[in-house]
Amino acid sequence: MSMLGLYGKRLLPQFIALAIILGLVSIAFPGFFSLQVQNGRLYGSLIDILNRGAPVALLAIGMTVVIATKGIDLSVGAVMAICGAVAASAITSGYSLPATLLLTVGVGVLCGLWNGILVAILDIQPIIATLVLMVAGRGIAQMVTNGAILTFNDEGLIFIGSGSLFGLPMPIVIWITAGILVALLVRRTALGMLIEAVGVNRRASTLAGVSTPVLLIAAYVLSGLCASVAGIIAAADIRGADANNAGLWLELDAILAVVIGGTSLLGGRFSIAASLLGAMIIQSINTGILLSGFPPEFNLIIKAAIIVFILVLQSPKLQGTLAFFSRSNAATKPAESKAK
């Protein structure tokens, strides 16, 4: 009960930000909240946000855990491109769907392993270590697809991008499931606490007996895994692997989602739910801009302004000031009532 209260309090700023944005969008576009059932699945702008936000949401899950270890994974966008390319080329060269998925996820895990080993074993700064794959990854993806968009027609693979389950588009089902699974994994075991300990003070954690290298590698592997699933979804969505554009800059959106979710880039305390809300906030802004009908020249400015606003609201300084004011208000009120 009190746990739930604590959890709610942690997520409150994100919920408020999301509500404000959704409110603004519905003013600009009145039909925003309408939902219908079409071809046996829910259909509407809200569903679009959940659906389009899937890749960033998935990346944000892995990114949250990596950032909690005081790391960062710049390679996720490139890993998405690699995995999309691998999936497309596997399915078009005749592999079965399970084999394709297994292979693709395996490649994602390998990418994560590479990053993890660079960071945990060779002790390279995460930003540099993952930059290597970020630079090389898109090239690898282009090698797999020969620079062209590799189109496929396998209904099974396409289902992952645009099919639906329980009336919800598959990407939504996948990211929500992944979010719940990972959240359970880190919070029902001691992983969450150990990851936070490593993120706050790696040396002290090692001295306390925490196996830091294993945890660090696991974090990057999880990130690679999430990126591979995001890559499959992105490719399945357009029925083709676009090595040039798949996941382009999405690593930055994922990092932003984590930051909006309130997890510090300095590592430590993290919340996967908050990062997922962050991802939805970003997608709501994107979809809202598209629905509002502003000329495209304004897209980036509007997005930046809203994000700056959210981040300023969350800044510790401002929060400290607000808390101070609310406390001093609370302190003066009883005095006033006594005077009466």
Partner: protein, 516 residues
Amino acid sequence: MQADRDTVLSANRIDKVFPGAKALSQVDFSLRRGEVHALLGENGAGKSTLVKCLTGAYHRDGGTILLDGAEIDPRDTLDAQRLGIGTVYQEVNLLPNLSVAENLFLGRQPRRFGLIDTGAVNRKARALLAEYELDIDVTAGLDSFSVAIQQVIAIARAVDVSGKVLILDEPTASLDAHEVAMLFRVVRRLKARGLGIIFITHFLEQVYEITDRVTILRNGQLVGTRDTASLERRELIAMMLGRELAAEVHDESGAAKVADGPVRFQFRGFGRKGRIDPFDLDVKAGEVIGIAGLLGSGRTETAEVMFGARRADSGTATIDGKAADLSSPRAAIRQKFGFCPEDRKTDGIIGDLSVRENIALALQARRGWARPIPRAEQDRLAAEYIKALDIRTTDAEKPIRLLSGGNQQKAILARWLATNPEFLILDEPTRGIDVGAHAEIIRLIETLCEKGMSLIVISSEIEELVVYSHRVIVLRDHQHVAELTGAEITTDSIVNTIAGPAKTPAERSAAAGEIA
């Protein structure tokens, strides 16, 4: 309030309020020309806050500050410096990658044709340091010198820039005896030049050695200002704590105690190249082994190889006659070892995590991630140790970084006690913590060994080692040079062994400079 003619700095009725707490309340303080004035108090008493108000780092909420009789209101530390108040902190706040000369004259270098005149900078730097009897290569990088020399350089800069008041904030915390002596020579010289010096420290011996007056704060309030010479040690402690401290009147007769029983932990030829020469050590159950030596003599290094923080590259370790793997902290923890490191901030606490999580961490790490300690069990553990060790925290869920040094240290101890260790290594367990916590930790060491735990305690406070050690190992130049037992354990014999066979002062200071 009338200041006497000698007063260079006086602060009257200073108030400082932080959200939720009153840090200073109507505090008076005055500093004379040519005096060293100690500012004392337990952690959280308001020493730093007062200093920060004087240097403009904080803006005070009430009261006046007079410098040479004129009211001042420093906007920031730079402003205070210009007015004549310089500060040197425990962690030297200079730029380690610049040369000594550049550090001394940064931002005010002599120029020629608009360019920095490096020759003149170096000349002036040499002249300035000569006043401090420091003959070093001023073109070498600051980080190539020991912390003590860096302190002196920082002092030289502060005095040169400011020149009226010098504030030394725990300058001796990371210095060994030789270096402290060197620093004190500098302080006496400056005192003779008429500077007012405020000296903040935890070491009471140093207070008596160097200061003329003492001002004691407690809970943000002034307790009193006294002449050091006429203030008895017990009275001073009573003023600081508001109570008598049992440990300070501890008699030294306990020193002759011996632990009997079988040897449990045996190290043979244990060492690591370049860190600590191979040593032999036998430890019995319920025995406290004290480790003494100067900073850099291999004290911490001994602890590190025993705990696997750095893997030993020679020798063997056996426990109860069986070979034991101590190749990593995890391996050592499996052998029921525990290690409270010297540097609490970087090696001990997990700052953002709660007191509860910090206490549960080592136990959880040993159980593995897949077997989480249930929350109720964690709460019980935390509550138990908070009570047992008297860890002062409002709440087990408070981030540990918000606790005072002594309470952090106790929480780290709790972390290891929760794992039921049989061999506990404490590296400087009482450094930088207030007197009250100090005494409690010493009592705890005694209780633990009575319960049969084997302890290795490294400390630079020799009186302390004398109180609780069954044996004292003395280290010099990365070697275990002597083992003192029973009646041999006295302050004098330890000091003599550390000092070793007669060396020329030059050799000694060279060695001290090199290892620090």
